[in-house]
Every structure is written in structure tokens, then in C-alpha cells.
């Protein structure tokens, strides 16, 4: 299962790690930092249920929305963005087709409310290529035919990008782990592994043999 961390600043693991064993004072300070962080993103008081102003920073651009607090980040991107690269497939954090980066960390956009994504830098698949120049991951996906119908592809490209950002030369086992939160019904997984190896500058084995029927067996 791919980790779906809460917002940085609210990261429970970091928070708990920061606690140490008996540092109540530190905890209180952390708690205040958390509250400050929250207040920056959202004004105090209850939000909704009607539409509220929401500002998202997407692919380096600030965008204003008026959304009900129950709208997910995926919905906001796709139906109000409109950035339709991230795909809606399961809508319940099970398939990874909606994967985006939140401050560089991989998350499922269907599992985060848009209102909670405020104050963070969101990168979608549309934000990877700069000036029409594909990233090595995108180019490797094309070269290795790591896509078929392509509906899962934005998610796999984001998952592989996140992996290589933190681990520039992953092993095949690490690629399998990093991409195991993404599903592909066409079953192009073997080529995804190849693409991730290729994008990280590693050798890719040829696994197809073509035999001409006319030739002697």
C-alpha cells in the first residue's frame, strides 16, 4: 500500500518522531505550529457545507476555486481545473490513477479534500514536461511501450517520477514496491518495470523473440 501522508506540517509520523519520549513542551510547540499552519490555509471557524473560496497552487500557478468543502482534490483538478490528466477510476484510493505530487510526495488525489490541499504545491502529470520537453520518465514510458489504453499512465508516470526523485537508481524490487499502489487493467506492468529502469539509466533486457515461420525450427 502506497503511503498517503497527511499534509506536511501535519505529518503524523514526523510529528510523533518530533515528540521524543517525554517532551511535552516540544509537543505543545509542535501543536501550535500545526495550528498556525492550518490557519494559514483555512480561515478559523467551520467551513461549508456550501461553496467556499479555495486557493490551490497547481503546477506552479495559483488558482482560485469556489468549492464545497467535500470536493476532493481530484474533483477540483478534473471538473473545476480543468486538468484531466489525473484520472478517476476507483475514487477510493485503490488504483493510483489519480496520483499527483503534493510538495513532491506522491498522493492519491481522490483521497484528499481540495480544501486540505491549500498551501501546498501540487504537481500533476501536465506539470512534468517543461516547454514541451518530456521528462526521462515520460520518454521511457513511450520507448518501452509502458502504456496501452493509457488510462493508468498518468498515475504510473507520477509514481515512477516520485520514486526516481527519491531514489535515482532503484532496483527492480524497489520499482515493484513503488508502483504497487497503481493498477493497470491492460496489464502493461512488465513494460513499466522496463521504463523505470530505462529512465534511471539502467540496462533493460530484451524479452521478445521473433521467429520467422519459414525458418527452420
Amino acid at each position: 500500500m502506497k503511503p498517503t501522508p497527511p499534509s506536511p506540517g501535519l505529518d503524523r509520523r514526523t510529528f510523533l518522531k518530533g515528540l521524543g519520549t517525554s517532551a511535552a513542551v516540544v509537543a505543545a510547540a509542535q501543536g501550535k505550529a500545526m495550528a498556525d499552519e492550518l490557519n494559514k490555509a483555512t480561515p478559523p471557524g467551520p467551513q461549508g457545507p456550501g461553496p467556499v473560496p479555495i486557493t490551490l497552487s497547481i503546477n506552479g500557478e495559483k488558482k482560485q476555486f469556489t468549492l464545497e468543502p467535500r470536493v476532493t482534490l481530484l474533483d477540483a483538478l478534473r471538473n473545476f481545473g480543468p486538468l484531466t490528466g489525473a484520472k478517476e477510476v476507483c475514487d477510493r484510493g485503490m488504483c493510483g490513477a489519480c496520483s499527483v505530487l503534493l510538495n513532491g510526495k506522491l498522493i492519491y488525489a481522490c483521497m484528499k479534500l481540495a480544501i486540505d490541499a491549500q498551501g501546498h504545491e501540487i504537481t500533476t502529470v501536465e506539470g512534468l514536461a517543461k516547454n514541451g520537453q518530456l521528462t526521462p520518465v515520460q520518454q521511457a514510458f513511450i520507448d518501452c511501450d509502458a502504456l496501452m489504453c493509457g488510462f493508468c499512465t498518468p498515475g504510473f508516470v507520477m509514481a515512477t517520477t516520485a520514486l526516481l526523485n527519491s531514489n535515482p537508481k532503484p532496483t527492480e524490487a524497489e520499482i515493484r514496491t513503488a508502483c504497487s499502489g497503481n493498477l493497470c487493467r491492460c496489464g502493461t506492468y512488465p513494460h513499466v518495470i522496463k521504463a523505470a529502469l530505462k529512465a534511471s539509466g539502467q540496462a533493460v533486457a530484451e524479452t521478445t523473440t521473433v521467429i520467422n515461420h519459414g525458418s527452420v525450427a
Partner: protein, 695 residues
């Protein structure tokens, strides 16, 4: 016979997809992504009962809600619904959230009726009738050879008899079914996630009572179909009715839950198989009986039940004597539809399991037993090539003889499929600036058909595939049929080739250039002056054929303490005539293996006997394979250009389940008789836990 070029430049070369950039950047617009101006969000209210008499559906509260622009009934107010998930009504609203609220505000009054959702229950004479009579169909009976088949079993050297079961498998294409329909007066534009733009057009024309010529269906990119996406569906008709009522485009894409309920599945099978062979290892007789359920789409009056429940038994083997009976079982579950190689994966699993058991009984190597009994010369060669690559002889051990708690086993299985094509048309436009546009009303389901068009045109003109602009997925383009049964490449490639040959001839005649191909191309095009050249063409005999084989070798590891099965390696050997793009062909075969692993080990639609509801509603509980399940896959392609183009989509998915089941039996020394081969079934087969039947 007309022929493809002897020394092709583009055909047969690994070619990356011409729409690859669009797909890796998020620029590719799928039906799910299309957002015409003023579009509304459509959503369907479905029956929460597996069977009920509906007396009232009150839309008034929903209609009065904020953002709601239209609400329609799916099939009248007073009606009988016959499965959980059957469509009752639909709404269109400005946002998804408003649509969701409106759906919840619709009030339905209904009286629940008795229902049945399990094959074993539905077969019983006292089972609640799903339709107007018994749930069991008339048998479809087939026989050949000696009518007294029982006597042959008595005298045979080896007889194997078993009941084998396969589950209902759900398609679960990642892009759910759906359409965006814009009814504008007497003209309609519909974006469809479909395998057949023309069949969607004709379906919508019927639904709206409009001429087919007034409807344009577009499918630029689509997120997988696997056989279930040919008609506009009930949901497409509802999108059209909502658009008409609201006066705005309506996007109605199904939810993942909907996808498991109402838009198709692979029928189940309960196969009673009895095979006999002589001491010489030759097959003698097969007595087969199958009960399969296509849900409500079965018919008791049709022999075999209809709805796709009958399967190809005893599959690929040459039994001189066969007695076969096929029954359909109707249940209160969603309708079946074609699913990648309809009827073949279950038949392959059942048949290949019994073939291996017979070989073991005769003390023969299962591969040798197949070579002795499979008369197909292509598969014979495929078995030999594959066995060498796989290392079959060195790896084969007696069943269950691997020591230790984690046991390795190997198995193999074969496939057959028709494929082939016809009927496609195409058009090409050559511009004075040397650009080329090829137009064909086919669609690309992810198979790479758009790239195939580019490769074939590039071959004809001596250009590179990336120099060809390909327009597909629009009913305003020349006709091409639905993409099913591995027929697309075999249908459109000859049409594109014919069109390009006509264009080349016209270009050369018009410009006086003797050979306009390759380096001469830009100058020849320039000589056209100011008018582009347009040419038509169509599918011609001689460039395609039908009939493909295919075999799989699988190696698995079974943990006899946990029951977990891991597929370690698969060698997939396939033929599909002339291979146009080995890269995309490999992808298709990889995908067939992965889907086959899902069918073998994980996938099963589970209906609840008590409530009649679907229990595994999303990917957390309906498990499809993920990248961690991916074995080492080696693909061997037997290229047969002399046969023309055939198609590979279906054969690739047929043999994995049989090969894996045989590998599991070889590893642990006992057979698991039903798919999916779950840890619980493995442990039960080993006698370590009680045999649990579904509740």
C-alpha cells in the same frame, strides 16, 4: 493471393505509439475527460433490490434541488427489476456533488421479490423463478463418433473425471462505461468510451428516434473495453434523454460500483468433464456437461441458455468420440457480455486440467501428451519453441515431488482463436507540403490500432510512421467495424494498405513521378500544385486471414504452509500472421498473461446469497493483478507474413489460467478444481483445512 511487401521497411519493426506523447503528458482526452461548454454531470439511481416490483418513483424532490437540470426514468415507473444495480432513474446536475444529492432524494416504492444469485441454488427446481419459468435452460447437445460413449470409458486405459468451476469475472476496464451526449435539436454529438463508434451511433439513433446520419460519435482515446463496450448501453440512452431534457451536454460515466453490477461480465461455468485415453496416450472419448450463468441475460428457451454461457468444450483436442451438453442458468445478477476471448479461458482451464491429470495417470510427460494429441501444426511448433526457451525437460518433475514447504511446479496450456477481419474502409489525403492524413473510422482501445494505421501507411509511402497523421474514432470518417474478437488490425490494415496504394498510383499518375516513395516523396507532393490528393480504399481479400494458436508455459511457487501461489515465470508463444508491430504485440501478450493470472488466482465476483448484493464492489475486494504479481514474462512471436494479418488480443488471454492451474497441481501433487486458486483452496486441496464452500 495479394501480398504484403517481401522486404518491409516499417511493417514488423518495433514502433512506439504515435499517441504516446499525448498519453504520458495527460493531453490525451478520453471520454471521461471531455467537457463541452455547459456540460452537466449525469448520475444513475439503481435498484438496491436483486428483485422487486417497483410501484412508484418520485423524482419531484430531486428535480427541485439546487443545480439539478433534468431527471428521467430509466424504464417507466411501474416495473419489475431483476438484479441489484438495474437502472431506475437518472439525473443531470451542474456538479457531481449536486447530482449525488439529487440521486439520494429520489423516492422509490417497491415490494421486494424472492431472488436467486448462486448457480447451485438457481438450478434447483424450487428456486425462485427469475423470469417466467424455470431458471435452467434447455440443453444444447452435441455429439460425434460412437453413440455408446459409456462403453468407451469402461474399456479405456485411463479415465479422469472431475467437476471444475470458473467464477464470474468482471471486466473492470479502468475507464468506466460512459458517454458524453450533446443533443442539439435534430443533431447529436456523442463522445463514447466504446469499442464500436458505429454501433453506439446506431444505438443512440434508435434510442432517440433519429436518423443515424444526424448522429456523430467520437472516441479519440478510450480506457479499455475488453468486450463490454459495444452499445451505448442503458446509461448511454439515459445520457441522451437527460441531454435532451436539459438542453445541455450531459456526461454520464459510471462509478466503479456500477461497473461491477450492470455492464457485463464473463459467465461462470460448472464443468463436469470425463476424459478417456488409451495406453498409447491417444485420447479416446470426452463426455462433457457445463452449466454456466450469464445472469439475467440467459434464456431458458434457448438451447444452451444463450447469453454466452456455453463454452468451447472439450476445447482444442482431437477426441474421436464426444458427447456434450451445455445448460444456461438464469440468475438475479447483472447481464453477461463478451469478455476477451468469450468461452475460451474457462474451456481452456477445464480441458487443460483434465489433460494434465490424464497424462499423470498414464505416467506421461504432459507436454509429450499434448504433442501426441494436438493436431494443430502451429501449436506443435509453438510447444517446441516454448519448451526449449522455458527449459521444460530440465524443469519437469513428478507432481508434488519438490521437497520442502515451498514447492515449485510447471504447467502448460494451449489456445485457439479465429480472429481475422473484413469490411473496413479508409481515406487518405496527401497534401502538396508532403504531409499525409489517413482517415479510418476505427477506434484504439489501447491495442495500438492508431499506430498500426501509421505503420501501414508509412510502409506504402516509404515514410516514417511518425510522419503520418492518423484520424480515427469518429463516425464522420470512413466506416470500420467494432473492435472485438481480435479483428481490428486484420480489418483496417488491408483497408489502409489498399487506400494508400490507390493514393500512390494516383499521385504517380498525376505528377509523372515514376516512384514517389521515400526520398522522392516531397518533390512528388509538391507537383500536386495547390490541390491535395484524396483517395479511398477498402479491405481486400488476401491481406488477412483467421485462425491463431498460442501456448503458455508457466512456473509457479506454492507455499504449502500459507497456500499462497506466486507465478514466477511465463513463456508465451503466439502467432498472429504478419506481425505489424512486435512492440505493441508484446504489450498485448503481456497484458493477456496478467489478466490470465488474475483469472487464475484472484478474480471472482462474489454475490451475497442472503441479500442478493454484490460484495466485492471495488479494487480492494475485487482483486486484479498489480505490478507485484508480475512474473518474468518471455514472449516468442511466430511471424507468418504469408498468412496476412490475424489479430492477437484474444488468444493472449486464453492459456494462462490452464497453464498456471497445471503448474500448481504439478507443484503440490493435488488439483485445485476451481478458479480462482486461492490460498484457502490450496490448503483445502492439501487437506490442511476443511473444504469451504461459498455461503
Amino acid at each position: 493471393m495479394a501480398a504484403w511487401p517481401d522486404s518491409p521497411q516499417s511493417l514488423g519493426k518495433p514502433t512506439s505509439r504515435v499517441d504516446g506523447v499525448a498519453k504520458v503528458t495527460g493531453a490525451a482526452k478520453y471520454t471521461y475527460d471531455v467537457q463541452p461548454d455547459g456540460w452537466l454531470y449525469g448520475m444513475i439511481l439503481r435498484s438496491k433490490w436483486p428483485a422487486a416490483k417497483v410501484t412508484k418513483i418520485d423524482l419531484s424532490k430531486a428535480q427541485a434541488m439546487p443545480g439539478v437540470k433534468a431527471a428521467v426514468l430509466a424504464g417507466g415507473e411501474q416495473r419489475t427489476v431483476r438484479f441489484y444495480g438495474q437502472e431506475l432513474a437518472a439525473v443531470a446536475a451542474t456538479t457531481k456533488q449536486q447530482a449525488l444529492d439529487a440521486i439520494r432524494a429520489i423516492e422509490v416504492t417497491a415490494e421486494p421479490l424472492p431472488f436467486v444469485v448462486k448457480e447451485d441454488d438457481a438450478i434447483k427446481p424450487d428456486s425462485p423463478p427469475v423470469g417466467d419459468g424455470p431458471n435452467l435452460s434447455q440443453p444444447k447437445v452435441d455429439s460425434k463418433g460412437d453413440p455408446n460413449i459409456d462403453a468407451l470409458f469402461t474399456s479405456a486405459a485411463a479415465v479422469c473425471e472431475a467437476e471444475l468451476r470458473t467464477p464470474v469475472q468482471l471486466h473492470h476496464a479502468l475507464e468506466t462505461h460512459g458517454n458524453t451526449v450533446s443533443v442539439q435539436g435534430d443533431h447529436v454529438v456523442a463522445w463514447a468510451s466504446t469499442q464500436g463508434i458505429f454501433s453506439v451511433r446506431d444505438g443512440l439513433a434508435g434510442n432517440l428516434g433519429m436518423p443515424q446520419s444526424n448522429i456523430q460519435v467520437i472516441c479519440d482515446h478510450m480506457g479499455g473495453g475488453f468486450g463490454a463496450k459495444f452499445s451505448p448501453g442503458v446509461h448511454g440512452g439515459l445520457a441522451a434523454q437527460l441531454s435532451k431534457a436539459a438542453g445541455a451536454p450531459v456526461k454520464l460515466m459510471l462509478t466503479r460500483l456500477d461497473e461491477g453490477l450492470a455492464v457485463g461480465n464473463r459467465p461462470s461455468s460448472i464443468q463436469k468433464l470425463k476424459f478417456a485415453a488409451g495406453a498409447d496416450g491417444k485420447l479416446i472419448a470426452a463426455d462433457v456437461e457445463n452449466h454456466g450463468s450469464p445472469g439475467i441475460s440467459g434464456s431458458r428457451k434457448t438451447a444452451g441458455g444463450g447469453g454466452g454461457a456455453d463454452i468451447a468444450l472439450p476445447y482444442i483436442y482431437n477426441f474421436p468420440n464426444v458427447h456434450s451438453q451445455q445448460f444456461g442458468v438464469i440468475m438475479n445478477t447483472g447481464p453477461a457480455s463478451a469478455f476477451r476471448a468469450p468461452g475460451h479461458p474457462p474451456a481452456s482451464f477445464g480441458t487443460e486440467s483434465m489433460i494434465d491429470d490424464l497424462a499423470v495417470k498414464l505416467n506421461m510427460d504432459p507436454l509429450q501428451f499434448r504433442l501426441l494429441n494436438d493436431g494443430n501444426p502451429t501449436r506443435q511448433r509453438e510447444y517446441k519453441e516454448g519448451a526449449e526457451k522455458f527449459g521444460w525437460t530440465a524443469k519437469y518433475k513428478k507432481p508434488g515431488s519438490d521437497p520442502g514447504p515451498i514447492k515449485t511446479g510447471i504447467g502448460c496450456a494451449g489456445a485457439t482463436w479465429g480472429g481475422g477481419g473484413k469490411g473496413s474502409e479508409a481515406q487518405v489525403q496527401i497534401n502538396p507540403d508532403a504531409t499525409v492524413e489517413v482517415r479510418c473510422g476505427t477506434q484504439d482501445l489501447g491495442t495500438g490500432s492508431r499506430t498500426v494505421v501509421a505503420i501501414v501507411a508509412a510502409e506504402a509511402f516509404g515514410l516514417r510512421p511518425d510522419q503520418i497523421k492518423v484520424k480515427i474514432g469518429d463516425t464522420n470518417l470512413p466506416f470500420s467495424g467494432g473492435s472485438g474478437g481480435s479483428s481490428t488490425t486484420a480489418s483496417m490494415s488491408p483497408a489502409v494498405w489498399d487506400t494508400c496504394q490507390n493514393a500512390l498510383t494516383a499521385l504517380q499518375t498525376q505528377t509523372g513521378v515514376a516512384d514517389a516513395r521515400g526520398a522522392a516523396w516531397p518533390d512528388a507532393c509538391k507537383k500536386l500544385g495547390i490541390n491535395p490528393l484524396t483517395a479511398q480504399g477498402k479491405w481486400q481479400e488476401g491481406f488477412s486471414s483467421s485462425g491463431a494458436g498460442g501456448v503458455n508455459f508457466a512456473e509457479v511457487e506454492v507455499d504449502t504452509e500459507t497456500g499462497h501461489v506466486r507465478v514466477k515465470k511465463v513463456v508465451a508463444v503466439h502467432d498472429c500472421g504478419l506481425i505489424i508491430n512486435p512492440l505493441a504485440t508484446t504489450s498485448q501478450i503481456n497484458g493477456g498473461v496478467m489478466c490470465g493470472i488474475g483469472y487464475a488466482l484472484y478474480e471472482e465476483r462474489i454475490m451475497d446469497r442472503q441479500t442478493g448484493l454484490l460484495l466485492n464492489t471495488n479494487f480492494d475486494s475485487y482483486k486484479i493483478t498489480n505490478i507485484a504479481d508480475c512474473p518474468e514474462i518471455e514472449v516468442i512471436l511466430i511471424n507468418m507474413p504469408e498468412r496476412g494479418v490475424i489479430g492477437i488480443g484474444e488468444p493472449a488471454v486464453i492459456p494462462p489460467a490452464g497453464a498456471i492451474a497445471n503448474a500448481v497441481a504439478n507443484a503440490i501433487g493435488v488439483r485445485v478444481h476451481s478458479l480462482p486458486i486461492t490460498p484457502a483452496k490450496v490448503l483445502a486441496a492439501l487437506g490442511k483445512v476443511p473444504n469451504v464452500t461459498a455461503v
